[in-house]
Amino acid sequence: MKTDTSKHWEEIMSSNTKKTRSSMWWWSWLLAISFKQHLLISALLRLSLIAYAQIHDSQSAVPYTDIDYKVVTDGARQVLQGESPFARHTYRYSPILAYLQLPNLFVHAAFGKLIYSMFDLLIAIVIHRLAYMVVKGQFEKTVQHLFYQASKSHECKYFDALDERNQPETVARGAACFWLYNPLTAVISTRGSGDSFSSFFVILSLYLLIRAEHRQEHSNWLIFFAGVSHGIVIHLRLYPLLFSLAYYLSLSTSLVRNFRNLLQQIFRPNVQQLCLVLGTLSSLVLLTWTFFSLYGYQYLYEAYIYHFVRKDARHNFSLHFLMQYLSTGEEGESSLLIKLLVLGPQLVLIIYLSLTFGQFRQTLPFCVFTLAFVLVTYNSVVTSQYFIWYMAIFPLCLNNLKLLSWPRCFMLLALWICAQALWLLPAYLLEFRTWNTFNWIGAQSAIFFLANSYILKELLAHYGFTHFKISYKKFR
C-alpha cells in the first residue's frame, strides 16, 4: 500500500516539471483575453467570412458556399410552398435543416450561415463549461483519493485550492479556443454546412451526462435530457448511434470485466441507464415518426436508407475506395462473408473502445472522440468534411494527452497532414490530368489509413487523466 502511494505521489510531482507551455507567446495571449472576448473575436471572424462569401459568390463561378447549403435552401422553399423538402432532388437530410434555413427565404440568403456559426459559438461555450467541470471534478477526486490513502479523509472537504498554473479555467479556455480558432470549423460553418449543428448535440449529450455525475439533485433528469439530445443527433446524422454503448456503460456502477457482466448490464439496466434509453427513444421516435407521417417513405429513403445503399466509387480518402471501385466491374453482389469481413474491423474496434474508455464518465469524452475517429478512418467513403466528426470532440481531450511531448504532437500532426498531401498528388493526376493512377490512389489511401491507425494507437497509449500539481507543502 505504502509503495503504491509513494509512486502515485511521484507521478503527480513529476508532472510539475514537465510544463514549458506557459512560455509560448500565443499561450499567454490566449490567457490574456477573457473567454467572452474570444467569443466576440470568433463571431467577428465568422461574420467577415460570411461577408467575404457573399462577395466571392457574386464574382466567381467557383462558389465558396457549399452546394448542400443551396440544396437545403431549395428544400426550405419547398416547405414554404407547402411541399415536402424531398421534392428537391438530392435533398438527403433531416427536414429540420430545411426548417432551420427558412429565414434564408424571407430575411437574407446568408441567414442559415449565421445560425450555423452561432452553433459554432454555442459548441465553444459547452466545451468551455465541460472542460472546466471535468478538470475540477477530476481534481477533487484525486485529492480525495490522496487524502484517503494518507488516512486523512476527514480533511479533504477543506482542501479545494487548485494550483495557480493548473486552474481549470486555463484548460477550459484552451480547449474552447482550440475549437474557435480552428480554421476548418470556421470555414465549414460559413460555407453553410450543418455539421456544427449536429456536433452541438453530441457535445451537449456529453455535457449533460458528465454534469449528472457532479450533481446529486435532478441527475436522472439530466441523463434523460442527454438521451433526448442523443436521439436528436441520431435523427440528424445516424452515425452517433454507435456512441450509444459507451454512453450506456458510462452510467453503470460496476466495472464490466467479462462478457457475462456485459450481458447483465444490458439486460438489467439501472435507473440512470433507463433514463438515457427513454430519453433517446422519445426524441428519436418522435422526430422520425413526425417526419415520416408528414413526408412518407421518401423521407426514410432519402434521409436514411439511401446512405446504406449508396455506392460512391469516386476517389476519396477511404481505405475501401479502390476495392469499391473495382467491385463495380464485378457481376452480382459480394457474399455475406465478405461484407462481414469488410465491416468487422470497425465493429470490433468500436466495441473494444466502448468497453475500455466508455465505462467511466471521466474517460467518456475521449472515448467518443476515438469512436468518431474510428468511424471516419474505417468508413467506406472519407472526405475532409468527415474530419469534423472528431474535431469537434478533440478539444475536450486535450487535457488528457499531456503525456504526449510537444515534438511528438507535431510529429503526429505532420504525419496526418503529409499522408493527406501524398494522397492528393495521384488524385490530382487522375482528376485533372486523366492519368491512370487508380492503384496509386489506392496505395495512398492505405497509407493514410495506416497513419491514422498509428495516430489512434499513440493517442490511446498516451491517455492520462490524473495530472495535477498539488503542492506538497499545502498538503502537509
Binding site: 466491374g329 474505417y378 482528376e431 490511446l460
Partner: protein, 234 residues
C-alpha cells in the same frame, strides 16, 4: 475541348456572316452528350446567374452514377448571331467500369447542331441554302432540352409553342477531336485488393488492441478504485 481531366470545358466559337450577324435573330446550339458525360446543373445555374451562359438543360442530372448507369441527354446553348461569339460549356466525365483488357475507354462526343429562329418578317434573311431541311420547322422543347420536328399533332399533344426554329448547315472546324480517353481500373486487381484491404484492416485492429490493452486496463483499474473509494467516503 480541353486536353485532360475529368472536368473539361467545351469551347465554341460561333461565327455568322452578314446579313445574319447583328440581326434580331436567336440561335441555339444543340450539344448531344453521351452517358459517359454529365453536367452540374448547379454549376450551370450559377453561370446563368452571372450571365456567362444562356442554356437549356435537364432540371436534374445525376452526377453520382457511373457511366453504365448514366443517360445521354442534350444541352442547348443560346445566343444572338454575331460575327464571332464564344460559348463555354463546362462538362464532367463519369467514372467508367474497370476492365481486364484496357486501361482506358474513349468517350466521343457528337458534333453540335445549330438551330436558328428569326422574327417572322425576317425569315427571308436565312438563305435557303443554309437551311439543312428547308421543308421543316422545329419546336423548342425546353422540358426535354431538345428540338422536335414541327408537326401539327405534336404541337397539339405537347403544347409546345416555340416552333419557328430552322436547322442550319454548319461549317465545322474542330480544333481537336471531340474524344476523351478516360482511365479505368483493372478488374484483375480486384481480388488482391479485396483481400489486402480486409487483411490490413484486421491487422490494424488487432495491433491497436494489443498495443493499448495495458494502458486501458490500468486506467479502468484506477478509476474503479476511485469509484469504490468514493462510495466508502459517502
Amino acid at each position: 475541348m480541353d486536353d485532360a481531366g475529368f472536368h473539361r470545358s467545351l469551347t465554341y466559337s460561333v461565327q455568322f456572316d452578314y446579313p445574319l450577324a447583328g440581326q434580331d435573330c436567336e440561335y441555339m446550339l444543340l450539344q448531344p452528350l453521351p452517358a459517359g458525360v454529365y453536367i452540374s446543373t448547379d454549376e450551370l445555374d450559377d453561370l446563368q446567374r452571372l450571365r456567362r451562359l444562356r442554356a437549356v438543360y435537364p432540371k436534374f442530372v445525376d452526377i453520382e452514377v457511373p457511366a453504365m448507369l448514366g443517360q445521354p441527354f442534350n444541352v442547348l446553348l443560346g445566343g444572338a448571331p454575331k460575327i464571332t461569339d464564344t460559348l463555354i460549356l463546362p462538362i464532367h466525365f463519369r467514372y467508367h467500369a474497370p476492365s481486364d483488357k484496357r486501361t482506358s475507354v474513349t468517350v466521343s462526343l457528337d458534333t453540335p447542331e445549330l438551330y436558328l429562329n428569326c422574327p417572322l418578317g425576317d425569315n427571308e434573311l436565312i438563305d435557303n441554302e443554309l437551311v439543312a431541311r428547308p421543308d421543316k420547322l422545329y419546336c423548342l422543347n425546353e422540358a426535354q432540352s431538345s428540338f422536335v420536328e414541327h408537326l401539327v399533332k405534336v404541337e397539339a399533344a405537347t403544347g409546345v409553342e416555340n416552333c419557328n426554329w430552322k436547322q442550319i448547315h454548319v461549317d465545322y472546324q474542330l480544333k481537336a477531336p471531340l474524344r476523351a480517353d478516360i482511365p479505368i481500373g483493372n478488374t484483375r486487381a480486384y481480388l488482391p485488393v479485396l483481400y489486402s484491404t480486409i487483411l490490413l484492416s484486421w491487422l490494424m485492429v488487432i495491433w491497436t488492441m494489443i498495443r493499448t490493452r495495458g494502458t486501458t486496463s490500468r486506467i479502468n483499474q484506477r478509476l474503479e478504485e476511485q469509484r469504490q473509494l468514493q462510495q466508502k467516503v459517502k
